[in-house]
Symmetry: C3
Subunit: 366 residues, 3 copies
């Protein structure tokens, strides 16, 4: 693990050049395909044929009779009719245009108008792994689809935690969404001092890199608890030490944690409280993103309290989405934009280097 | 006449390459211009100035005082104001911007602000031939506008037949619309077994080519009459032989026939019944089409029965339109699509070769 | 001053070639940036942060506490969040994303997350000069922003005149808007003979050029007053001499005058009446324009009469806007358009040469 101390980058701040291909990823960078992305929440899938556009491709999602989640290209290989407009017959999909029928592995099993099935007639199958409440998909080279690479989310069903989930469609590049959640310093300004005091954006931080992941850890010691946390923990007004990590795990997943250590006796004989947030960004196109999220905490996990927390979370993430859509729109309308970066952007720039490099590697001939 | 026996093309199926320019026409192929297309139904035109976009050009349509249909470019040659927003003065069109006045031959006859009319000031006139209920237009080289090339539709006014007409605007390439009507095998799946039993999509067929036309003839012998035909003929349940032809006449016109030979005594001492369908596809742009149609039959021609038939036809053609729009949308959203073709596609591929070759010929220097 | 006598240009009429870069400006010509454009009417600006897109750039407009109008780029230089979504703190703008704070000169005065402010962090400031009721902006090279180049509009507050102002958003290139107001001959056809008799479009005219300005002067002698003017002056039916000038001052400003000399005794012992119209065209993009206008006259200046006049003016300018939008739309939809020009277009072609040359000069390396 490499540790980068925080340092002001000032005038040497790297600038984001539009269309820069290799250095820093942006909305023009080819999407990273060899990765597990969230295709859907488990409860979205059933025996209905559903269409979702993922990484620029139409994908058909459904469950077989035994409940297995299936993902096929949502175009009949014959004349590109969306298979989602056909019907399920057992585990097979019958195209609504000419009746071509495909098994859950994508193989064509019936062409009503002829006896032989030419070998080339098959729907592309995308590897799928379900880890409830998440359904993961691999849109890249199937030979590299190793399920052990799926980020761990088992804590989502940890009985000590209460979790809530949600989804937003965002008209912004997934790169910007990643940069936003790696960036603690926007919290007091975009979300308000209810969520993080301004002091927090000035607190010392450390950036670490581990392979193709990058993490920022920020600690604010001995400070009044921020109102949002105080209300959940019921320790409003207490002084606490807040430790926040924001971790770019993969181009598909960002994992954030908040640890609140109560310095004034705590609540119900506990002094440490944990919040975990999984941000799952699945590009729909280069400039639009499926944003799945899950938030879990080991305090105030009664249903009514979780529901109150969910509403705060939704409001907060909608602020992020709106901000990033405004930014994407500015980039769309104006030519020749150059941006400057600040000290706190170091981890975001690291993430953008990693994504850019992975995109470059994928484009390289094998 | 060349006869191609039907044969499975299986693994050797030609694939449609995106942007393929010369082999198989698709939505990227330049439109064939040297052809008679339907500009309007006769009853659409009167003394009103109407605009319709045909083959990527704005066209002004109206009738002179003696009822002659006229088609001019719908842009004043001076500053491109749409002439349809001007007024008719007798047979002449007065531009609503500067009062330039054009005769039905496109010649400028008045420029209010000056005495002389420079020779270059003229609106392009498009050759028009009316064969009620159809108004044909020639958007290509006017020297080649030979009216004898207009496909025969005189049977539309044959007193033994009852006919109904209609129009759909379809957000799909005319090439796909042609391919769809040459393809019998989608009938049971897209339109339902009311229209054609699945057996029919497996019936033997023959493909023939005559110059730049292509035809498929399909015969299903000794089979229960399909419900739609049985209801019109009132021979439901009878065994019949159904002979279907689907004929790509020109890039503008597809002519289909259905002949039902009743093998169980017939109705009212008749045993043979005929249905004719004229599909007239006029590109609005490369990916949108004006779809005019006319259906005639020599049975059940009373007004109420024709109206019932018309409603079935509209519902059927709307299914086609919706399917082709979904397909066009898939092509628009997804890059690098490749399709595979089946045995039954032979006539469609032949049509696409013909259109591609004609487009290529038009692009060649004279 | 060069004087060009009017002469028919007939078959030698220059043709507008699509995409012609150097000869005649059109909607494809790069926008002229080194010029004062109207950014807003004075009464639009206050202590609210407002966004307006000018010459393809998002601009933030507001007033400081002392009322000075300010224009900054409406993108935070850090991550392109629109500053108009932030808040004013005194004279400074606080970005709503990370709290970066900018003075009215664009300098960054605060970055909450760090102590030092790197030199590159600044919002571009655009020179602004207010000449009520107009606020002028300079979007080009700031070193050339000489306020003496702002066209005079002091007559707008001449007490002998009554003035009304207005605004239209027009989906058309500013080049077309300029050409339209230089062209008297469309008045009787687009606006009706209430505004100008057809004789007027045939009246003799003179075209003059002065540096990068061009003017057409048209005189119709001893002719019944046009109804619109007769109603304002209350000399309906009198014979008058009408002198009209239409002056392309800069790519931002067209100044028109109408002088009506009453030949039958006049009204209230006056025989000469003046109308002045300022058309101010500020490109939003290459094909959309902010159209500010002001009309003043030295007759019928009571409020109720001015209001009646304003309504006529609005209706007239909306006719212009609709016509130019239809034309822009034709150019957008149809390829390969060529236009022919008439004798009366000479001044418009001169204007298009001037704009094209200025765009070319700006593109040239210094």
């Amino acid at each position: 693990m490499t540790s980068l101390v925080s340092d002001p980058i000032g005038e040497q701040a790297p600038q984001v050049l539009p269309g820069s291909s290799s250095r820093l990823a942006d909305h023009t960078t080819p999407l990273v395909r060899n990765e597990w992305y969230v295709a859907a929440m488990s409860d979205e899938l059933d025996r209905t044929l559903r269409e979702r556009w993922l990484l620029g491709a139409g994908v058909l999602l459904y469950r077989t009779t035994d409940g297995t989640a299936v993902a096929l290209q949502n175009r009949c290989p014959h004349r590109s009719f969306p298979l989602s407009r056909g019907v399920l017959e057992g585990d097979n999909v019958v195209c609504g245009y000419h009746g071509l029928t495909f098994g859950p592995d994508g193989a064509c099993v019936l062409i009503p108008s002829q006896d032989t099935i030419p070998k080339g007639v098959r729907a592309r199958r995308f590897p799928v792994v379900e880890r409830p409440p998440l359904v993961w998909i691999w849109m890249g080279d199937p030979d590299q689809a190793d399920p052990t690479r799926i980020p761990d989310s088992s804590w989502l069903s940890d009985p000590d935690y209460g979790a809530v989930c949600g989804y937003l469609h965002v008209k912004s590049s997934y790169v910007r969404l990643h940069e936003n959640v790696l960036d603690h310093t926007h919290f007091p300004f975009l979300h308000g001092v209810e969520v993080s005091d301004v002091d927090w954006s000035q607190a010392p931080f450390e950036v670490t890199q581990e392979g193709n992941s990058a993490c920022i850890t920020r600690v604010l010691k001995d400070h009044p608890v921020d109102p949002v946390f105080g209300r959940a923990i019921r320790n409003s007004g207490h002084r606490v030490t807040r430790t926040s990590t924001a971790w770019f795990k993969t181009p598909a997943v960002h994992w954030a944690t908040e640890t609140i250590e109560d310095l004034e006796g705590g609540v119900d004989e506990r002094t440490e409280f944990h919040f975990q947030i999984l941000h799952m960004f699945t590009p729909e196109t280069a400039t639009t993103t499926h944003y799945f999220w899950a938030v879990a905490r080991d305090v105030a996990i009664q249903d009514a309290l979780l529901e109150a927390g969910r509403r705060v979370t939704v409001a907060t993430f909608e602020q992020d989405a709106e901000a990033l859509e405004l930014i994407e729109e500015n980039w769309r309308r104006e030519d020749g934009i150059r941006e400057v970066s600040l000290t706190s952007d170091r981890v975001g720039l690291l993430m953008r280097q990693i994504i850019a490099q992975r995109a470059l590697d994928e484009a390289a001939p094998a």
